[in-house]
Amino acid sequence: MKGNVYIYILVMALVTYIIRALPLTVIRKEIKSPFIKSFLYYVPYVTLSAMTVPAIFTATRSVYSAAAGFIAALVLAFLRKGLLTVAAGACLAVFIAELFLI
């Protein structure tokens, strides 16, 4: 590591907090621009999808166990299971798959 870890942490914390605090303290009226509203609407889903695929396939010891975890998560989320159930179900699927694979 070249940089100072604490400066990295400070940058992370500051940027993240400013993003959260600005609208809550500054905006007292409704945003009117349909384009900005639509853009902001899509950002969470697009970011999380781009972060998940393809990274999830290298998150475990085998591409196949990762795929098992991904499928389990997709199925559980499609059935509208909660956060904890989906995350735990994905982990369990990886664990079981690796019993056979590794």
């Binding site: 902001l40 972060m51 982990c91």
Partner: protein
Amino acid sequence: MRSNPSDSVKNFKEGVQAGIPIALGYLAVSFAFGIQAVSSGLSVFQATLISLTNVTSAGQFAGISVIAAAGSYIEMAGVQFIINLRYMLMSTALSQKIDPDLPVYKRLGIAFGVTDEIFAVSIMRKGVLAPAFSAGAIITAVLGWVLGTFLGAFSGEILSAALISALGVALYGMFVAIVVPPARENRNVAIASLIAAGCSSLFYFAPVLKEISSGTRIIIVTVAVSVLSALLFPQGTEGAANEG
């Protein structure tokens, strides 16, 4: 909504109740974060400090990969800005949900806990959002987030490789749980998410493009696909206020 003290206690308790399942979900993911942070070269203290000061799953995972890759501070700021940009939407939605006369220090407190999950339980509250509810939910959820990080960072080395491998998908499981239900309701969200996953994979595998760092890749894909989606499928007001 100048609430009396007993109302505040009731709201705070309801906040704690809403925060408990979130805290449990966070435990698994932050445990995985703690393991990964330590294996990226951070100390237990640094890993825990990141969780306490950031309280953001995706941003933190991306952050430690920037640290591990010795990226610049500017890249770190850019990655955090783009990955956490969704909090700006949530913070904006919450700004419409609180008492217009709420003092700034209380707004700053609510802002600290703007995460996907805490936002979801806050925006679903009936009527005006009471700061005491936010306080209860935030304290409970953050406790789970920080504790899980500490435990993961502290015990990562003694866990079996099989368990660490299994926990590696916890974060992505949480992401899937956030994206899939709205994608099921709204075809545009489903299309945008699929395009994002496709573009991200293209950048990961294609020659030349694969030289781009993962943080920059997510910035480019997010901005491009969100702009494209906003132009092709504009959303009405109702969607923006209701989605977590």
